[in-house]
Subunit: 423 residues, 2 copies
């Protein structure tokens, strides 16, 4: 049944096979009963075509925030198993409503909680991980020709507690179910048409990609592309589940994410990602002694602040400059800690900049194409864009520039690497 | 630990014992986070006094209706297991919030779904019954000094499905838990001070009762008194669980409902109940042959219409008159059916009256006091109230009168039986 995702153009044949699909709809897609009815219509049509369907849902848009707000009215910092109990109620509502809507259309459907779908979790409340999935009952429903509607983002741990996977965990639920059921594809329905070569709001010439590798998608997700959760892409890669990102209300075939196929003509660059959520901190004139990085980043980590890019340059006189980025929300706290450490270490200066943006070129083709970095830096220089940090990985080159240069930079790179034309 | 509820005046000693109490708060009582915080304060105080507490909650006021309304937007007649899944989400929210509120006050609390509280159900969705309760885990939480907050109105059946007990089932959950845990008392918190000798809106002299027997409460509940669900009173009687109806926000000791105690000076009449939800249907000149009642009521039952009072009088010429009451919502449907049957049977007339009210005198003391019925009829006659139906049971006399005579009738009976004075 499983087909090989070799076609870069979303072959029609993929869609007419009788397949087992796991689909996931996010909160916006099930935000109103009208939208739920529209999704039910589509699912009923897919059933008529013979496809077997497992549908994972998030809570109705805004519901999780409403529940969190209620919790904050009775507790300063709601957490633990009671928060899980609270938040997991949101998905029960959406799965019950979609099941009822399908039944109204004469289509057999069953709503299943995480527990009922056999999702066993481990780890702490609010941030549990899926340990294993017992698909016995789910398979029974599918064998009886039911559409199985599963509550995303939740499961049950060994002691019978309801646990949630953390926000956005519905993508992970879908991918994990697809892996466990050996589904033909996992469809993630979103409010975009697919994954683009760049943000279309910045670059009108941005093109929707027909295909991406897991690695490329991982780099894009890590960059703050909100199309897919990082964890779900990791999961998909690990179990080799073909992922397809599709528009919830439209007929586009979206973007397929799978492993690199041998017979695939790989584009050099898949796309340009950017992340506006970071801020940059720099300590100059740091004595260049062993353990200095740990000395600086230790207190930052102790304050539960996550660090993204880290760059250290040796400078002329045996000192070094140390620069890193954190989430903008953590900027003030990180700067205060850094100033204290700077005084202790006798650093020359402690500087910060909130108004930066991180830009990345992503593409597995980079591996076999030399000179990408220098083309990137030259293209930015020609636009007068100043680069303050550089960091590279095997399939990604990231730079930090002033936020004001974001649009100019994206357009320059999109042009330089001819991303508007299909590879 | 269990004390005998012999004191008619809500003895203070009952309240200072260290007891195990099962308490139930309805939707109105947990309708806002402010109210949830107020309940948390009271529970924390009761814990400080050393009481062990199990608290059963309904969904926040209005939530069940909101969920039902969503369901009706996607399905003409929502039902079955998906409706249960939907509705059971409401209690998860309230139990999680109250648990969090107690934790914020430094009081150990745990929220438990019906399943987690060990409530095993049987029967069909939306109207399941509690089959048994496995209190092992609940008892473990209590032994660890936790306040256990349990989702009312729900459980799990043998196949692992979430089931609901039907609306208002939270009272039953509380009583069943009290029975299973052998609690000292089961407290049902409501928006009234307790059970009254008559509706205080009709009779300003109505007095709160300190004590009632199960039988009396059953008759009052059956009469549409919304203080307690009929099923929960039956359950309490069966397992001899002392029930106390209390105001959710106040310090009144409410009304205790328990079995008749030997040393209790029983008042003749506990109170006057009325029910405005019924309508009356009459067929006159029905041939008085065997099976005629079944012939008339069979088609009514087939239409899922419930019948309350039934009165049949033989008339002079071998015919009889047949009168019964149904819920007002079923009046039109019942009248149509009755007209059809009337024609088939060759009845003289088929009549109906929507604007009636059923009035009942309730009291176990009736058994040993003769002449109650005639005093009742005379008191009504003196006010010019016409009685159209009479039906009696061992501890209740019910009459049907014109709705316009309701207030006059309640006041006349309250005066006649001197209900304003404590027995």
């Amino acid at each position: 049944m499983r087909h090989s995702p070799v076609c870069r153009n979303g072959c029609a044949s993929v869609w007419s096979d009788m397949s087992l699909w796991v689909q996931k709809y996010g909160g916006t897609s099930v935000g109103t009963t009208e939208k739920i009815l529209a999704i039910a219509e589509r699912l009923a049509e897919q059933r008529r075509q013979g496809h077997r369907l497992v549908v994972v849902l998030s809570a109705m848009g805004g519901e999780t925030d409403r529940l969190l707000s209620l919790a904050r009215q009775v507790h300063e910092q709601p957490s633990g198993r009671e928060l899980d109990l609270l938040l997991s109620s949101g998905e029960r509502v959406s799965i019950a409503l979609l099941s009822l809507a399908l039944q109204e259309l004469g289509c057999s459907a069953v709503g299943l909680t995480g527990r009922q779908a056999g999702i066993l979790t481990e780890g702490r409340p609010n941030k549990a991980r899926i340990r294993e999935i017992d698909t016995t009952r789910l398979q029974q429903w599918l064998d009886q020709e039911y559409v199985a509607i599963v509550a995303g983002f939740q499961g049950m741990d060994e002691s019978g507690q309801v646990t949630t996977l953390g926000r956005g965990g519905s993508d992970t639920t879908a991918v994990a179910l697809a892996a466990a059921l050996e589904a033909d594809e996992c469809h993630i329905y979103t409010d975009v048409e697919g994954v683009y070569t760049a943000d279309p709001r910045l670059e009108p010439g941005a093109r929707k990609l027909e295909h991406l590798t897991y690695e490329e998608m991982l780099e894009l997700s890590g960059m703050g592309s909100h199309v897919l959760q990082l964890r779900s892409v990791l999961f998909a890669e690990k179990y080799n589940v073909p992922l397809r990102v599709l528009p919830a209300f439209g007929s586009d075939s979206g973007t397929l994410i799978s492993k690199e196929a041998e017979d695939m003509e790989q584009a050099t660059i898949a796309g340009i990602a950017h992340n506006r959520d970071e801020a940059q901190l720099t300590m100059t004139g740091v004595p260049d002694t062993p353990g200095i990085a740990a000395r600086i980043l230790g207190p930052i980590a102790d304050a539960q602040i996550e660090v993204d890019m880290i760059v250290q340059n040796a400078s002329r006189d045996g000192d070094s400059d140390f620069t890193f980025t954190v989430h903008r929300n953590d900027y003030a706290a990180a700067l205060e800690i850094l100033q204290r450490i700077g005084e202790e270490l006798g650093a020359r200066e402690t500087l910060g900049n909130r108004d930066i943006v991180k830009l990345s070129l992503v593409g597995v083709g980079m591996r076999s194409h030399a000179g990408i970095a220098s083309r990137m830096f030259r293209a930015l220089a020609e636009e007068g864009v100043n680069i303050s940090m550089i960091s590279t990985s095997e399939i990604k080159i990231s730079v930090v520039v002033e936020e004001s240069a974001l649009e100019t930079s994206v357009r320059a790179l999109h042009r330089e690497f001819e991303l508007a034309e299909a590879a």
